[in-house]
């Protein structure tokens, strides 16, 4: 099988063409890459391999702040999660409220939904 990917690892956005096979052996579902072209760096191979088996993304959003100079503090995930769990992650993060002052670098949730990623505050919000 052949597929084209746009690599999202860096702004180069390489268009990567990959030829791969899914082995017929029972239980083995990991695709075997036969050829790969268009990537400017090895991270492209990593990205495509990940995309073929388990596409992952990070998200950035915000949480409510009580008593802060601003109503929100921005947050992001520290590691990508399976793409089909993005809205599950959003549902949890949406319930969070923090008390000002908030400091960038604070971990609000450890191991979100058991996905091996933390929710990290990305900006300071001083108390009002």
């Amino acid at each position: 099988m052949t597929r084209e990917f746009t690599c999202i690892v860096c702004p180069n956005g390489c268009r990567i063409a990959v030829e791969y096979e899914i082995p017929a052996a029972a239980g083995a579902s990991a695709p075997v890459i036969r050829s790969i072209s268009g990537n400017l760096c090895p991270r492209g191979i990593e990205y495509v391999t990940q995309e073929l088996t388990d596409p992952r993304r990070t998200i950035a959003t915000s949480v409510l702040v009580e008593g802060g100079e601003l109503p929100l503090a921005s947050v992001r995930l520290t590691a990508p999660i399976p793409r089909d769990r993005i809205f599950d992650a959003m549902a949890v993060i949406r319930t969070l409220t923090v008390q000002a002052p908030v400091t960038a670098g604070t971990i609000l949730v450890h191991d979100l939904l058991g996905l091996g990623t933390d929710v990290l505050v990305t900006r300071d919000v001083p108390a009002r």
Partner: protein, 425 residues
């Protein structure tokens, strides 16, 4: 009469360009400097760019906008570099009479007016968004039409949700990022409509902001009518022909409560113009030489106010280069005079700098004026090819930079930069 304070360098704007310029000036030994920021905090537009992808070049890791700005702000504070917020620059003027070269900068803040006599003024005001008015979209005037950056500020800074059912006009990066952001916050995005036959933003954003969320991108389409009384109720979109003119009979009505515009960024140069700085109609930023000095002596410009960049990392890098030259200027080192022009040839949308000395290494930044694959970027001086490089692809969305060593340059003759499809031999 207002007290006039002497200063070596005054930096207009505390975003990515202004912060990087201030830090590098400091490292070069310039201690008598000031960053003037009109918002209440430093950081510029990065404060509302909460998505990640910043810092890959500068720090080798991917950060959100606030974290990226935070790295620079923390360093500015640690070094004790002076800055003022809530302060706007009203004018940059030439001194009365003749004498030593400096610029008179007038600022306004809640504390009142202030005047500075600055040896160097660094323009780092960034850019602003094109609006509906600039596009002249016909139709009614309901609320619910926002630029992408305004919608971004509502959601990410003020906790206000501007849309339930949205249409996005223009495929600029912020528009695509907002398509994803709105979707994450529970709105439905009908699609992104782009008048050109190619996307304005980066391929990775088409992938991770649109494809990932099943948001369609309709190329060669535009909004031709806006409907609604007090609030937007829908838009009409039409397909356009090769001359970008709407094709009659292709109109389609799309019900929506919000139209987000991501239709281009314009360097914010009103202050520069009043200061007598000559602009380049291609970039809509200042014409600068290889030292990032504008047509007015002592006034420098870098970042998005000079030309719109694709990445904040490159803004910081450019401002750092500016500071190297500006610190030499402040110290009184003569900068080589720049009398050779860098001209746009075929395939080139704009180039920066537009003037060079031909005696110093410099970094050339450019954008192509159409998407090309398998092309060759060529520099010619006096009709002679001095540099040629193959590019697998070149997109108008991406800024291209080339480091030009002085050894290949001659001290006379203009340069022409062209990007052309590779000829098969």
């Amino acid at each position: 009469m207002i007290h006039r304070q002497k200063i070596d360098a005054l930096i207009v704007g505390g975003g990515p360009a202004g912060l990087a310029a201030a830090l590098q000036l400091y490292r070069c030994g310039i201690r008598d400097l000031l960053i003037v920021e009109r918002e209440r905090q430093l950081g510029g537009i990065l404060r509302q760019c909460i998505h990640d992808g910043f810092g890959l070049t500068q720090f080798g890791e991917t950060l959100s906008g606030p974290e990226y700005a935070g790295r620079f702000i923390d360093e500015v504070k640690r070094l004790g570099i002076p800055f003022v917020t809530n302060t706007t620059v009203l004018s940059i003027a030439a001194p009365e009479g003749s004498g030593p070269s400096f610029r008179i900068v007038t600022t306004a803040s809640p504390e009142g007016l202030k005047e500075y006599a600055a040896k160097a003024v660094i323009l780092a005001m960034g850019c602003r968004e094109r609006t509906r008015g600039a596009l002249a979209i016909p139709g009614e005037r309901p609320t619910g039409v926002f630029t992408a950056g305004v919608a971004q500020a509502y959601i990410n800074l003020y906790n206000r949700m501007p849309a339930r059912e949205a249409v996005i006009l223009g495929s600029g990066d912020i528009g695509m990022i907002m398509a994803r952001r709105l979707t994450l916050e529970g709105a439905h995005v009908q699609g992104v409509y782009e008048v050109m036959p190619y996307a304005a933003g980066l391929p990775r954003n088409i992938e991770q902001c649109l494809h990932d969320y099943d948001i369609p991108l309709h190329l060669s389409h535009t909004v031709t009518d806006i409907h609604g009384g007090s609030r937007l109720t829908g838009v009409t979109v039409s397909r356009v022909d090769e001359d970008l003119q709407p094709i009659p009979g292709t109109e389609q009505y799309i019900p929506c409560d919000t139209l987000i515009l991501s239709v281009g960024l314009i360097p914010e140069n009103e202050l520069s113009l009043e200061a007598g700085v000559e602009l380049d109609p291609r970039t809509r930023g200042a014409l600068v030489d290889e030292h990032f000095m504008t047509s007015v002596e002592g006034i420098f410009s870098a970042g998005n106010v000079l030309h719109v960049h694709d990445l904040a990392d490159y803004v910081s890098e450019e401002a750092t280069r500016l500071a190297d030259a500006a610190s030499a200027y402040i110290a009184g080192d003569p900068l080589p005079s720049c009398t050779l022009y860098v001209l746009c040839g075929d395939g080139t949308g704009h180039v920066v700098p537009q003037r060079i000395s031909g005696r110093t290494d410099f970094r050339l930044s450019l954008r192509v004026n159409r998407p090309m694959e398998d092309c060759r970027i060529t520099l010619r001086q006096n009709g002679r090819e001095i540099l040629s490089r193959h590019l697998r692809k070149a997109l108008p969305a991406e800024m291209i930079t080339l480091d030009i060593p002085s050894r290949i340059l001659s001290a006379d003759g203009d340069l022409t930069v062209s990007v052309e499809k590779e000829v098969q031999s």
